[in-house]
């Protein structure tokens, strides 16, 4: 397709405010009379709260209130949970029992954060430690301490799905392998912690909320928990969010602060400090053990898989168990695998709660799938490129229905992998590996080819909870042309760096043929917003882009109707060019943009009958191919669009120290039509860096007594520019047939394939010495231990 603005190198609309320090983050929101919150947190993995004495805290000058769980839990409703487990109750503060070290027990409100911390130290809490469980596998054994005894078990969700003739395929296959891989507990850990400020207006009976938020249905959930009507909570979506990648959910923070603001009658702000964020911010990511069985033939054809995925969500659950659900929609990856058995098990332990992390469970699953493909290749002595190409869905096989009921929209996996191999200069990569090995070093090449499902339709909600019949996950856009002829696009969620303002302006500019630089894009608040969800699930290019395109087309249609009426010719004889409408052919009869706008705004007498005055249009878009409930055997169309990323990486390992170094990194990426290539590339580079962190550096580690060991940035190791290598990126474009411009999602790109590729490379490096490693992160200690022949 030939585009005017889409796909072109263009500066973003957002960057200028950030490079000048003029972003407006939640910590920049200062309300008159605002007070500050600090938290009292539990030091125990599990403990009953016997008593809380706040006198010494309240005696400090400038301290206004100490809120306990007892008071708060009686006054608010439990936060929503994504699966059907109503007795796993979760409140912002511990309700009589603290279930992990770092859980919030009381909140102190004071004139400054400094004073609030002084006071928090003086709150006396009597704890009675009780038995706790940290090991996910042991947590589901009989007799294990129960994290929520009322629930009756530590299992939050468990189901065995069978899609297709799994047993027959296993019986027919020439070979079978089984193995275990483990994805360690890490998260996206944005540089901005979560923060929220709230103010209650008693005259209007309205709670105003500014928050660092990326949470579907956030205003609704806040209102429900606070027992307020939805229209009594106004969330401002124009707060800049300092990174999220899934985790900025903050519902418990917001209910806490909203309650305090309403009760105390002054504005209240809580900005997590880094310790509160890491221990009690409830933003840890998947912590997953995969047991895989794979059945395949001698020629490398993979017939079937059985996957058991045990995920440790920690002590509470919001949407986190659903992170086992999203992978259902890409359970076979880019491969033609005829049948699958999938058993997701979501379990509770006495650890910090898990939250959504970039890819919503897909990256761990991709790591497991790619590990399987590599093992099959190794077992058969096949080349790892060849086995992938043998099993890839062919580009002429789309739309392609996978066993779990999802249809992939389009793709050209062979070409994307070839492009990545070429970008990596694969032949020279192999030579480098061999040269390193000859010189006594360990070197390995990793390849991964992974899918990014995009355009999230939240179909995992009804799949994992029969009581939940959600089948729409719309997004919307409002476009206004004002009297001056200037264009404003209104979006209905906040942004965390994904460039949505640029997206909307580019799409509106493309359809209306007007310069995007002249188009303003603003964020509504939740009371003025059109129905929308959240910039999650790689959905905004598809959903917000689609909504903006739909609204712009309605504007264009109105302009054409006005022109037809005023020029006295049918619309079929008109052509639209850069906002002006002319009669086709060289008649000279035309109406310009300014004239059309003026008619719409001022001259009702010249408007065609039936058309509203003014010039604005809204469009609410449903996810393409969404809208259905799952079948009885759990088949469902998950996300509509599927991007592919192929990673090729060379790793060198110092055999004496176990340190791994990324020597070369190339990525081939196909997300269909790119709206703004700089944004897509940036997201992908960042996703790769994030994946490098998960693969080699980052882990929320716990001591045997349930203390989080990596609770500061001194021990939770986010990679810097010195660890992340220069990356060669190469694009390919297979347009999606389901979207306006052929675009697919890319918000999770890079992260979905990097850990798999790096793990495969490390194992390729260790292979010659007969060692392997099956757990992320692959730290120097872990790698060295395997080199020494230690346990895997």
């Amino acid at each position: 397709m030939n585009f005017r603005y889409i796909g072109k190198k263009r500066r973003t609309k957002e960057d200028p405010r950030f490079v000048t320090g003029r972003g407006r983050f939640v910590a920049d929101v200062a309300l008159p009379g605002m007070k500050h919150v600090a938290l009292v947190t539990s030091p125990h993995a599990a403990a009953r709260i016997k008593a809380i004495r706040a006198e010494k805290a309240l005696a400090l000058q400038g301290v206004h209130y100490v809120l306990t769980g007892e008071e708060l839990c009686a006054a608010v409703d439990p936060l929503l949970i994504g699966v059907d487990a109503p007795l796993v109750r979760r409140y912002p503060l511990a309700n009589g029992v603290a279930r992990y070290a770092g859980e919030w027990v009381a909140a102190v409100v004071a004139d400054s954060r400094h004073l609030a911390e002084d006071a928090a130290e003086r709150v006396e809490v009597d704890y009675e430690p009780i038995p706790y469980i940290l090991d996910a596998e042991k947590s589901i054994e009989p007799g294990a301490p129960l994290v929520h005894p009322e629930h009756g078990s530590n299992v939050l969700y468990r189901r065995k799905f069978v899609w297709g003739p799994v047993e027959e395929d296993f019986a027919r296959a020439a070979h079978r392998l089984s193995f275990r891989v483990r994805w360690g507990r890490s998260a996206t850990v944005p540089i901005e912690t979560f923060g929220v400020a709230a103010q209650w207006d008693p005259a209007q009976q309205l709670l105003d909320v500014w928050a660092s938020i990326q949470m579907p249905k956030f205003p609704d959930q806040t209102a429900r928990a606070l027992r307020l009507p939805g229209n009594a909570v106004r969330v401002y979506f124009d707060v800049d969010v300092g990174g999220s990648f899934g985790v900025k959910r903050g519902i418990k923070h917001t209910v806490l602060v909203g309650y305090l603001a309403k009760k105390l009658g002054f504005p209240v702000r809580f900005i997590e400090d880094r310790l509160e964020n890491m221990r009690g911010g409830d933003m840890h990511g998947p912590d997953r053990i995969f047991d895989l069985q794979v059945a395949f033939d001698a020629d490398g054809t993979i017939r079937s898989m059985k996957i058991r995925a045990l995920d440790d969500v920690g002590a509470y659950a919001g949407r986190s168990p659903l992170q086992l659900g999203k992978p259902v929609g890409a359970i076979v990856g880019p491969y033609r695998i005829g049948s699958v058995e999938y058993e997701p098990i979501s379990v509770l332990t006495n650890k910090t709660a898990q939250e959504a992390v970039r890819g919503f469970g897909q990256s761990p699953t991709n790591y497991a799938l790619e590990s399987a493909v590599d093992r099959v290749a190794r077992h058969l002595g096949m080349d790892r490129v060849a086995i992938r190409k043998k099993n890839f869905i062919g580009k002429d096989q789309f739309p392609y229905l996978i066993p779990s009921g999802t249809t992939y929209d389009s793709g050209d996996y062979h070409t994307v992998l070839d492009k990545a191999l070429a970008a990596a200069e694969y032949a020279s990569l192999v030579e480098m590996r061999e040269a390193a090995r000859k010189a006594g070093r360990l070197a390995g090449i990793g390849i991964s080819t992974c899918l990014e499902p995009s355009g999230g339709n939240t179909a995992f909600e009804p799949l994992f909870n029969p009581k939940n019949e959600t089948t729409t996950w719309m997004d919307s856009c409002l476009v206004r042309i004002d009297l001056s002829g200037a264009i404003t696009g209104v979006m209905n969620t906040s942004s965390a760096g994904q460039g949505h303002e640029t997206l909307v302006a580019t799409v509106l500019g493309e359809i209306l043929e007007r310069d995007p630089d002249t188009i303003r894009v603003v964020h509504a608040d939740s009371l003025t917003a059109l129905p929308s969800n959240s910039p999650v699930a790689s959905r905004m290019a598809i959903m917000l882009g689609g909504a903006a395109a739909g609204a712009a087309k309605r504007i264009k249609a109105a302009l054409l109707a006005i022109a037809a009426h005023n020029l006295g010719v049918p619309e079929t004889l008109l052509e639209y060019r850069e906002g002006n409408v002319a009669v086709k052919g060289a008649t000279g009869k035309s109406l310009g943009w300014d004239q059309l706008v003026e008619i719409a705004h001022r001259k009702f007498h010249r408007m065609p009958p039936g058309l509203e005055p003014g010039l604005q249009a809204k469009f609410v878009w449903e996810v393409p191919k969404g809208g259905a409930l799952p079948t009885a055997d759990g088949r469902i169309q998950m996300y509509p669009c599927f991007s592919l990323e192929a990673h090729v990486v060379l790793v060198e390992i110092d055999p004496a120290t176990g340190q791994a170094k990324l020597v070369r990194y190339a990525c081939g990426h196909d997300c269909g039509t790119m709206i703004n290539p700089d944004i897509v590339h940036g997201l992908t580079y960042g996703g790769i860096a994030h994946g490098i962190g998960a693969a080699l550096y980052e882990k929320f580690a716990y001591s045997d007594n349930g203390q989080l060991l990596s609770q500061s940035f001194m021990d939770y190791l986010i990679p810097s520019a010195l660890e992340i290598p220069s990356i060669t990126m190469v694009d390919h474009c297979t347009p999606s047939p389901l979207t306006e411009f052929g675009q697919k999602g890319s918000g999770e790109a890079g992260y979905l394939g990097a850990p798999a590729a790096i793990a495969c490379a490390v194992n390729d490096a260790l292979g010659p010495m007969g060692a392997s490693i099956d757990e992320l992160p692959m730290t120097p200690l872990a790698i060295w231990t395997r080199i020494q022949g230690g346990p895997t």
């Binding site: 911390e117 002084d118 130290e121 730290t779 120097p780 060295w784």
Partner: protein, 296 residues
């Protein structure tokens, strides 16, 4: 993550700082760059009632050579305790005379922390894996401690007692560090460490300085290991054993094996004791080879 309240006093002379320390005793802490102290105060792991700021004291900013042209003993370069790490990186005298310190600084933190952090601050903080303390021990530097009554010299090798614990008394201030500078020989040095990310605390570090005669025979060697004992550990006994050898590969391997037996590593989140012991052996071997090559 806000510090507990404290009072602040900016000293204008070293004597004034010492008087403040004498008055407040263990309730006071000195601050210069604050790059180790401030995070501990932010986490309220340290909560002094008084902070005495010595960062600007001219007396603590000097880098001086105290050569003795007559004596055959080592020359001395004295470094004021409040000299910032970034200054050492650029100072001509320090670069020429203390190459090992320069090599160590490449591993210390990042640009921003070296711009603020001081040589003395790192020593007094006494993290067992810190680079500058290790260099003071390996080179057998002398630390001059001042209090209201006067000055006391303590050898670096007797200063570090345990993690974050030193021989300094609450009323004392580290004033200067006197590094021996080896005279008249071909000297080479090396510093290596393993950390998970660049700029992190070392899991283990090692450094060495060797002097070779014209025939390549080792006439003097000093080495040590950081992060693998409760304090930075110089290994003079290994150094003595290397003197007189050709510093050939076999000798180096033996020295590394012997060094790894002398340490007392502990395990933590990032490294087990066994891994640290292994790394110590590997790194000693590497720094001895590199120091040897550095001469050539």
């Amino acid at each position: 993550m806000k510090a507990a309240p404290f009072e602040y006093f900016r000293a204008s002379t070293l004597a004034e700082a010492c008087a403040q320390l004498a008055e407040h005793g263990a309730d006071a802490k000195l601050i210069a760059g604050g790059q180790s102290l401030v995070p501990m105060m932010a986490m309220r792991l340290a909560r002094p009632a008084w902070l005495i700021d010595i960062r600007r004291l001219e007396e603590l900013q000097r880098i001086e050579s105290r050569n003795d042209p007559v004596s055959s003993a080592d020359d001395v370069v004295s470094v004021g305790a409040a000299v910032r790490q970034c200054v050492i990186e650029r100072d001509p005298l320090a670069r020429a005379s203390l190459p090992l310190l320069g090599r160590a600084l490449k591993w210390v933190g990042h640009v921003q922390t070296r711009n603020r952090g001081t040589v003395g601050g790192s020593i007094v903080h006494a993290d067992p894996s810190a680079e500058i303390p290790l260099v003071t021990c390996v080179l057998d530097a002398v630390l001059e401690l001042r209090d209201a009554a006067g000055a006391t010299d303590v050898p670096a090798r007797e200063f570090f007692l345990a993690p974050m614990v030193t021989a300094i008394a609450p009323e004392q201030c580290l004033a200067e560090i006197r590094f021996p500078v080896w005279k008249g020989a071909r000297v080479g040095s090396a510093f290596e460490e393993v950390s998970i990310r660049q700029g992190d605390f070392a899991l283990v570090s090692a450094c060495a300085q060797v002097a070779l005669d014209a025939d390549g025979k080792c006439i003097r060697a000093a080495l040590g290991i950081g992060g693998a004992s409760p304090f930075p550990q110089a290994l003079p006994e290994i150094g003595e054993r290397l003197a007189g050898t050709q510093l050939d590969d076999r000798t180096i391997v033996d020295a590394a094996d012997a060094a790894a037996k002398l340490i007392d590593p502990d395990g933590d989140l990032h490294a087990t004791a066994a891994y640290r012991r292994h790394l110590a052996r590997v790194l000693v071997e590497r720094v001895l080879r590199s120091a040897r090559e550095d001469v050539r």
